[in-house]
Amino acid sequence: MDRQVLYGLILTVAAAAAGIAFRDQHYRLDVGGLPADQRVVDHRDSPYTGMTWVTSPSNNYLQLRFFEMVEGGVCVSPSWSDLVADPRLAHLKPAQPPVIATGELDPGTLNNSAYISFFPAGLLLNRTVPEKPRVLVVGLGSGVGIAQIAHHFPTAVVDVVDIDPAVIRMVRDHYPLMAWLESQGRVNFIARDARAYVRAQRGQGYHLVILDAYTAGSTIPPHLMTREFFAECGATLAEGGLVFANIIGCYGEQDADGTWRGAKRRVVGGALRTFRAAGLDNAWVIPVLHAGDRPGSFDRSSARNNIVICGKHELSPARFDAGWSRLRDWVPFPELQPGRHVSRQYQLIDRKANTGSTFVPAAWIDAVVPAVAGAMKSVPLGEGTPAHTLGSIASDRALLEQAAQAVRTSAPAGSQLRGWDEVPANTELYLRTIDWVLFPRETWRTSVAFARQTDKHDPELLVGPVDGPERDGAPQSWYMSDAPLFTDQTPNADIVNR
């Protein structure tokens, strides 16, 4: 054989072998601060994203991730079969028990992502709560928000439009409850671009339109964040209906000289201005308080989920007391009891380097070194703090060494033990306890109470200066003077807001 052909062949084989060896890399499933016991359930690529269902028994989630970003998570416990054992949840009970393949999960309706808790708020703030709610969801994600609506509103019919048919297939294949809801006609999936679909739904009489479409880069598709699109959403609404948007962004970034500006805040401010320009004059923001946030210490500069709700009727807590009383009195998942679905996880935190290890299931340490649990000192909660997450901490170095040793020996193969191989000086052991039933309830309670503060969340005070009233006396630090107006001609909403 010609020598050059031989060289070419050798190079080809070597390159192919190397490429095949690295073919299965995932997108950062192993970053710090994640559970050590997470595993990939399924991974698929589509024209729009790379999606992965990831589950962690210790953190009680099944999450859909687009690349490394969490789109939404549902608690694995209580499972669907746990839920239907409760006679009050007959509307979730299939005529025949679902067939779940071995190794597959059957998550229920309890959300593992904070912002999902607020989907019912869009129906509760309708002028009157509809008897048979019709909901249009733009952007499917994990589907847990739709499951949450189906849990609380047995008669609701939810249409979901998503541009990516692969996401719809992924949800059908690994979230049996969603597949069942679809078979019952309570959920309809439409694989289309939302802009084209929504325009065709004028006069459909939706009580609630939920805008939750994000690109794989965690930005809102620009054509779904314009005055014209919002007006088209408004035209699909029933009398007294609402548009509900999940907007990731923040209220402000403070420069060294004390002025507030930056890109991330422009998303929230822009959404408010744009909704009002689209004829949905009454808008309100519910900033979602995550675990560890305290209302008193609400950080305006960090990106977060903000729920923007808007419609044609008065929405402010002062002028729509009936609606806000419904929010105040609402109890998410009233059938579930606290204390039953609790996650306990340890993490090593290096105070000096400000880094943390992966979270490990508490059992890995407690079963080997029982003394650790006894040595934990609880971290006191701040006033008004969401109480679904409790922390305690220990710094006895000898004990920490034993704990890390216990983790290394009891972790099953394949665990991600980043940060557990040694215990640097200044390290503390943190125990995080999350009650997944309190999680939506407490998130709801604190966020709603926070959003009622009219002086901080009234869009008329937040954005301007073009389309608001005079704001003498408005607290300047909350005021977003540079909020843009997004239109089809100036649709630059794709601001990176990570």
């Binding site: 070419g8 698929r44 690529d45 690349f67 690109t215 880069g217 620009p222």
Partner: protein, 212 residues
């Protein structure tokens, strides 16, 4: 047969080039998002590499007398495709961390990852022209036909990747299959010698020395 081999090479390379453009954007999404900046960067990189590739390819074509250089160019691009799964994600993530908030960050990542493979594929057109060249009289229609065939490959590369491959085949597997295809094409050109036609049948007979 000879013409068929040249057209097949052109279609294959055109297909893989545009497929890489679509796949390349997808490789950059996780670190840089999917904004218009990403597409602007990708298109810039590919057009830039084509223009550089045309220049270098043209020079190589002038010097070549057979399909050996073509074989090594195609093989080289195939090897780059095959090895992209090793470093594409890491480079993209590392650059994303370093420059993710800067608008030109994605352009740098695109250049680092895709300039070389697309540049190699860009070199192929002029080299193929040299191989297909028959006579000065027909130079227009032969090169025109060759460009048309290559562009058909481009079109299929875009459509097939978008409509079919991305939905059913993982990104890295796509890269590996295409790398394999390019390598096989290159190896075939190595194994089967093809003389540049202009050398075989000179368009103008060499005139005898006019005397000095």
């Amino acid at each position: 047969m000879r013409l068929f081999a040249i057209y097949a090479t052109s279609i294959t390379c055109g297909f893989c080039l545009m497929a890489l453009e679509i796949l390349g954007a997808r490789v950059l999404y996780p670190s840089f998002g999917s904004s218009i900046d990403v597409w602007a960067a990708i298109i810039t990189v590919f057009i830039l590499s084509l223009s550089i590739g045309y220049v270098i390819g043209g020079r190589i074509a002038d010097r070549s007398t057979n399909n050996r250089p073509l074989a090594w160019i195609v093989l080289g691009s195939g090897i780059l495709y095959l090895t992209l799964p090793i470093y594409a994600l890491r480079v993209s993530e590392a650059l994303g961390d370093a420059m993710g908030q800067m608008r030109f960050g994605v352009l740098v990542a695109g250049l680092v990852l895709f300039l070389l493979p697309s540049l190699l594929l860009g070199m192929i057109s002029p080299v193929l022209v040299k191989l297909v060249f028959v006579s000065a009289e027909r130079v227009g229609r032969t090169t025109g036909m060759l460009y048309a065939v290559g562009s058909v490959g481009n079109v299929f590369g875009i459509l097939v990747t978008d409509y079919i491959l991305l939905e059913h085949v993982r990104i890295n597997s796509n890269l590996l299959w295409m790398g394999g295809l390019l390598c096989v094409t290159g190896l075939l050109h190595l194994a089967i010698r093809m003389q540049a036609s202009a050398e075989q049948q000179p368009a103008v007979p060499v005139a005898p020395s006019q005397g000095a």
